[in-house]
Symmetry: C2
Subunit: 246 residues, 2 copies
């Protein structure tokens, strides 16, 4: 379905994990699009249905798999003839390959979008990145998506230790899910401080709950952070601009 003469981009957002992270992505897609009128904005359809089993619990073996709900959402988005699908939830990328195989529309991986932003920084500032701090769920840390890509750039990845995950990351993340942004921001800001103290030059906020939480407390660590949600938004805008020129 062509929604605009000469344009065929329609970004499908497989969201709801959590719903606030989806709103954050939609907001950032708008911010990253240079426009002067409504009609120039990226066309997006967002499936923001949070009735998807908890991803962190599923990976920990303590909850049911979200895969059937994710596959159903991919099918719904494809029924609308979306051109691309993005997932504003890092942990859900555990099921990326299965979802990509089941989808007519290509999926954009959030770590690929982030790598494009990091590579751009390195190129632009002739910045030598030796140590990158990674804030993410246990599932994302163990998957290695970010670490492998950063290693290809010659950078080591610093991760939270087990105790920091239990006392700072997990309670911070679930505070955000309950809407307690300030509480979450305070805990996650402490975690950022720890990684900086260990030598991280940049922080990757690779859990979509983290950027809104740090923003809520005006954390100064945002200045050295890269936000994969924003990188994903930029990737969506690039697809839209590319179709504009074709």
């Amino acid at each position: 379905m062509s929604i605009h003469p000469g344009k065929t981009t329609l970004i499908g957002v497989l969201g709801g994990m959590g719903p606030l992270a989806t709103v954050d992505l939609l907001q950032k897609i708008i911010e990253e699009t240079p426009v002067s009128r409504d009609q120039d904005h990226v066309p997006v359809v967002a499936w923001n249905v949070p009735q998807i089993p908890d991803r962190q619990r599923a990976l920990a073996g303590t909850g049911e798999s979200p895969l059937p709900a994710l596959l159903a959402a991919v099918s719904q988005l494809n029924s609308l003839s979306v051109s691309h699908i993005v997932i504003p939830c890092n942990t859900a990328h555990h099921w990326f390959d299965t979802l990509a195989a089941a989808s007519d529309a290509p999926l954009i991986h959030i770590a690929d979008a982030t790598l494009a932003s990091v590579a751009y920084l390195v190129k632009k500032r002739t910045e030598v990145l030796q140590n990158i701090g990674l804030i993410a769920t246990k599932g994302t840390l163990e998957a290695g998506w970010y670490q492998q890509r950063f290693a290809a750039l010659g950078a080591a990845t610093l991760e939270p230790d087990e105790q920091e995950m239990e006392t700072l990351f997990v309670p911070g993340c679930y505070a955000v899910k309950r809407g307690e942004l300030h509480k979450g921001g305070a805990l996650l800001g402490q975690l950022a401080q720890r990684l900086i103290d260990r030598g991280a030059q940049r922080l990757i906020l690779a859990c979509t709950e983290v950027p809104p939480a740090l923003a809520a407390v005006n954390s100064h660590w945002l200045d050295v952070s890269l936000d994969p949600t924003r990188a994903l938004a930029q990737a969506c805008v690039r697809e839209w601009q590319r179709s504009d020129k074709e």
Copy 2:
């Protein structure tokens, strides 16, 4: 399609007018839902495709009709078996009856949602509302949706005059559409001041660009304002909670 055992609510958002107003509604639906985990949030699918002809220009006779694009969006949302459709754009309610007739899912009118909020205020505070200020597009002002409903409550509606529309409302509104929230907020804040000076006890911000603009400049007129977008969000949450109890 049942997305959750015992629940059949799936709110369809006919958005993109502009895209920021849609994000604002999604954010407010989350804020208005008392939850402790992702899975308790309202399931929403948002059609945020801004390639819809300008509503204000169409009503002024200087642009093409948005109706075909709106009907196509209603059809897409119905194909996902949404339970209700809401439109975070007051002016687009000009085509409400035609869209409602073409939709399997019922549409919730933004002025009905607002009336419910005003009536609640009157009841709760035993507030005698004599004069309500209405900030809206020319199309919404002329349609009379709000004025008729407020008259039924015994309240008169104060509207901007023609000069205020031209010098404050229209430039303020289009500044927001360009992403210039502070510029828009300054102009729309002046308009709010004028209506208060003429005796308005409450202001209805009946153009979805207005609340984010006043919020961006921390306008104190927000304290006496009612936001139809928030009222619409509350109506969505009520539908979700009702299905929860059935």
